[in-house]
């Protein structure tokens, strides 16, 4: 409880020292109790410095409420038994609650509720006011992916890289409709509202990967608008900022399991054998495969299987031969020509993916034809592309 009274500036340092937990005051017993309650309540791990305190308020409120409910419930059941009707036409004594009892119950509960509010509000302010020196990251939601931009010039999609043990302040906005950036393991959430920036901050306790959900309904892809936070040791994070691109295997060597935290779009670490494989990786990382399947099922967008080289009817009735030109146009100016039967939902990738990445995606699409092979990547068809 003591930690609640600290000024925001002191928070980061104080939290580095311990988990600022009232239960921590109990030492190992408190720790075991915390973990037991957390598991019983299905709460995720407490991966931020903020999480343990929020959970303690949770335990506190739940425990006391259960006690009050148990007393009331037992009273109700006991009355049903003790005062059960014994004869028809029974009359009852007139009992009226004395004023002191009513005021006592109301006042007592109000005091308790406001005490909870006070703790909760202080914790909330703590989560909103970032300490000085926090690393700032710009978070942009769009249908249906997350983009992250760092002041020193790097950016990433789907995966937010942060240093562990250092406060990170998120400046959150949206490019289209309202989204909400939610990291359950950190106990933080912030709506991404188009036209304004909102902020929240956190400090990851250790290196690891944590899931990100969108929690504001944003359309048909909402329930797959997932992402990940990867907290790296400070040295590794500096490397990442300097341009290092770790794949899943590199991260596993650091003890970070991407697919363990959320079934992901990032494919397993394979040798980047050819451009098509690179295209498959890029398509996954850039979120293409959230809307386009590769197995022939139409989803939010047309399936990529058999798309290259086909002739598609547009919403305007125009028939278009799907070649490199049309695919590139669809990536850069997607609303120009939409295949009939699909919503005009695709975001533009202009300036977001490089020319080699565009080429890789097209090469990948060329490999998708015929029945679904057991392996995820089909060999290029002999003798050109089938019509």
């Amino acid at each position: 409880m003591l930690a609640l009274r600290q000024a925001p500036e002191g928070i980061a340092r104080a939290e580095a020292a311990d988990s600022t937990s009232a239960l921590a005051g109990l030492g190992e017993v408190g720790d075991a109790l915390n973990q037991a309650l957390r598991r019983i309540l299905f709460l995720p791990e407490q991966a931020s410095t903020f999480a343990a305190r929020v959970d303690q308020l949770h335990y506190f409120e739940l425990g006391l409420m259960s006690g009050i409910a148990a007393v009331l419930g037992c009273a109700g059941i006991w009355f049903a038994f003790r005062y059960r009707r014994r004869a028809e036409g029974e009359r009852t004594p007139r009992v009226v609650a004395p004023l002191w009892l009513e005021l006592g119950i109301a006042g007592g509960l109000l005091g308790l509720f406001l005490f909870w509010w006070l703790i909760g509000y202080r914790q909330y302010l703590h989560a909103k006011v970032a300490p000085a020196g926090a690393l700032e990251v710009y978070v942009t939601g769009k249908q249906w992916m997350w983009e992250f931009a760092y002041p020193r010039g790097r950016n990433s999609q789907g995966v937010l890289f942060v240093p562990a043990g250092r406060p990170v302040k998120l400046l959150v906005t949206s490019r289209d409709v309202i989204h909400s950036f939610y990291v359950p393991a950190f106990r933080i959430k912030q709506d991404a509202v188009p036209g304004r920036y909102t902020t929240i901050w956190f400090q990851a306790r250790t290196a690891g990967a944590y899931r990100v959900f969108c929690t504001e309904l944003c359309g048909v892809g909402h329930s797959r608008m997932w992402g990940k936070v990867v907290a790296l040791a400070p040295g590794d994070f500096e490397r990442w900022l300097a341009g290092w691109n770790p794949d899943a295997a590199d991260l596993r060597r650091l003890g970070i399991d991407l697919d363990g935290v959320l079934p992901g779009d990032v494919p397993a670490d394979e040798e980047e054998a050819d451009l098509a494989r690179e295209g498959q990786r890029v398509a996954a990382v850039r979120g293409c495969l959230r809307c386009h399947t590769v197995d022939g099922t139409p989803y939010i967008g047309p399936t990529w299987r058999g798309l290259y080289g086909s002739v598609e009817t547009m919403t305007t009735g125009e028939r278009v031969f799907v070649d490199e030109a049309y695919i590139t146009e669809s990536m850069m100016d997607p609303l120009a020509r939409i295949v009939a039967g699909y919503p005009a939902d695709m975001p533009s990738y202009q300036g977001l993916i490089s020319a080699p990445e565009t080429a890789a995606i097209i090469e990948y699409m060329k490999t998708l034809w015929g029945p679904v092979p057991p392996d995820s990547v089909a060999p290029p068809p002999p003798g050109g592309v089938p019509r």
Binding site: F42, L43, V54, E61, M65, I68, A69, L72, G73, G76, F79, A80, Y83, R85, R86, E88, R91, T92, P93, R94, V95, V96, A97, L109, L110, F113, L114, W116, W117, I119, G120, Y121, Y124, L125, H126, D176, V177, I178, S180, Y182, A185, K189, Q190, D191, V193, P194, G195, R196, R211, T215, E216, C218, G219, V220, G221, H222, S223, L262, P263, A344
Partner: protein, 540 residues
């Protein structure tokens, strides 16, 4: 003042009831009788409950497995939107006030009818028109915005937002008509001797509900009309790309929709107050406390809407103020729960189906209310906001509270409305099945929310599946319980044994006329000479 009571002849020839006079289908279509209008609303809202319930079962079935189970993501989004719209506006809001309020309020006040009977008839037709417009939106493909219609998404979705928003607007007009009627009736048509502090508690809650409906519904109507215009003409009031503000919509929407929560729960609380007094044969532990708490909820309920927006980007100061005010409104509900339990003390308790539902109400509403207090603690709300914890919370209050109380009302006043009994043992079984089904459906959802499962998700990571399976199985039990209830109640409409005037031995005024009541409720102008909860051994 001892012996003058409500003056009605006790034995009447059969066939004189409002159900049979005047005769003919057409007489029901043009009726201005508040009792018939109540019955029409009872059947219409029950049909809406069935439709909304079917969508609920479909949603739960889809969530049985991650990814696609029975429908695709767009269909899923349409289903939960329709489930919400139908349950909130076609069932929950009119369920108790328009059905039981219409039937009982004038009788409880000793009046022949409501103040404006033809306005009352119009409210039926406007409700029907609103329902038709909403359902036409369903036929046109339905919206996929959720019942909250948050812009800018609601302005951009290709689905048919406009007819559904317009339909809700029209339903709001029906609600306002009913509210005006109840307020004026309560002020002007109380029988001689019916002072304000002698009114049955159910009347108090309907009165308070009507005030909320009158003040809040126009704000919703305005906001939804703007959403419809945004969608149809890209007006952009709430769209930032053309200078609008999406947060403004959230303020307008919740300014109505938070009080709307009390529109849904206050009448339920009125039912509970009546049921507990009748089945414990007991005066309320504190009539004054319940009246004060009812009005307190109606007033403070207008000041808490911002707690839906703790993570929306409101200022920190706003979050603090709305959090504290939300704690205040919880106090009034807590006082009521304590008072109901206190009413049972030294009563003469008979565990008939309505009282069983009351016990379920106390438990479920208690849990729902307490989870609401937890949600008003801002830091906890940050974790739970828009997760299944919130879904569980409001279903505990809305289903566990309002639908349970609605079932209690149905079982309590069924003999009053239709003059028949339903089979008691089957009813007791039904209450148990509904209760277990409810717990099975919604307790796992609290845990899903703790675990971080967002709401309105069609797809989810596989480790949430076990809790989803439990929840879906619970929904089958809940659906089964409600189906059983529907079957025996419909059968009892014709085949039930005759109930007699006052089968529960209640002292409440509505039981002083025959069951079912005659066309004009009373044969002479009633004079009220005692309170509605006058069960005491000695007149005092």
């Amino acid at each position: 003042m001892s012996t003058v009571e409500v003056v009605v002849p006790l034995s009447r020839p059969a066939g004189d009831s409002y159900l049979e006079v005047p005769r003919g289908f057409r007489s029901w279509l043009v009726t201005t009788d508040h009792k018939r209008i109540g019955v029409i609303f009872l059947f219409a809202t029950s049909a809406a409950l069935v439709l909304g319930g079917v969508f609920a079962l479909l949603l739960r079935a889809e969530l049985l497995t991650p990814g696609r189970t029975i429908v695709g993501p767009l269909a899923y989004n349409r289903f939960f939107t329709l489930h919400g719209v139908i349950m909130v506006w076609l069932f929950m809001i009119p369920s108790i006030p328009s059905a039981f309020g219409n039937f009982l309020l004038p009788i409880m006040l000793g009046a022949k009818d409501v103040a404006f009977p033809r306005l009352n008839r119009a409210s039926v037709y406007v409700y029907a028109a609103g329902a038709v417009i909403v359902l036409s939106g369903l036929v046109l493909g339905g919206a996929d915005t959720g019942w909250t219609f948050y812009p800018p998404y609601s302005g951009r979705t290709p689905t048919s937002v406009a007819p559904i928003a317009l339909g809700v607007f029209v339903l709001g007009i029906s609600t306002i008509m009913t509210a005006i009627n109840f307020i004026v009736t309560t002020h002007t048509l109380r029988a001689e001797g019916m002072g304000w502090m002698r009114m049955p508690l159910f009347v108090w809650t309907i009165y308070a509900t009507s005030i909320i409906q009158l003040l809040a519904t126009p704000v919703l109507g305005m906001a939804l009309l703007l959403v419809a215009l945004d969608h149809a003409f890209r007006l952009g009031v709430f769209d930032p790309t053309v200078g609008g503000d999406p947060i403004l919509y959230q303020h307008l929407f919740w300014f109505y929709s938070h009080p709307a929560v009390y529109i849904m729960i206050l009448p339920a609380m009125g039912v509970v107050s009546e049921v507990v007094c009748t089945f414990a044969r007991k005066n309320p532990f504190s009539y004054t406390a319940i009246v004060v708490a009812t009005l307190g909820i109606a007033f403070v309920g207008f000041l808490t809407w911002g707690h839906h927006m703790f993570v929306a980007g409101m200022s920190e100061l706003d979050v603090g103020i709305f959090g504290a005010l939300s704690m205040f409104v919880a106090i009034f509900s807590a006082i009521k729960v304590f008072t109901w339990v206190g009413t049972l003390y030294r009563g003469s308790i008979s565990l008939d189906a309505p009282l069983l539902y009351l016990y379920e109400f106390l438990f479920l509403f208690g849990v729902g209310g307490m989870s609401g207090v937890a949600l008003a603690s801002p830091s906890l709300d940050v974790h739970w906001h828009d997760t299944y914890f919130v879904v569980a919370h409001f279903h505990f209050v809305m289903v566990g509270g309002t639908i349970t109380a609605w079932l209690a009302a149905l079982h309590y006043w069924f003999p009053k409305m239709f003059g028949r009994h339903y089979p008691q043992r089957v009813a007791a079984l039904g209450t148990l099945l509904v209760f277990m089904g409810f717990l099975g459906t919604f307790v796992p959802q609290f845990l899903l929310g703790n675990a971080g499962m967002p709401r309105r998700y069609y797809d989810y990571p596989p480790e949430y599946q076990a809790l989803h399976v439990l929840s879906t199985m619970g929904s089958w039990a809940l659906g089964g319980g409600l189906l059983l209830t529907a079957v025996y109640l419909v059968a009892a409409l014709r085949g039930g044994r005759r109930a007699g005037t006052n089968p529960w031995g209640s002292r409440s005024f509505e039981w002083d006329t025959p069951s079912p009541p005659p066309q004009h409720n009373f044969t002479e102008q009633p004079v009220i000479a005692r309170g509605p909860y006058d069960y005491a051994r000695e007149e005092g």
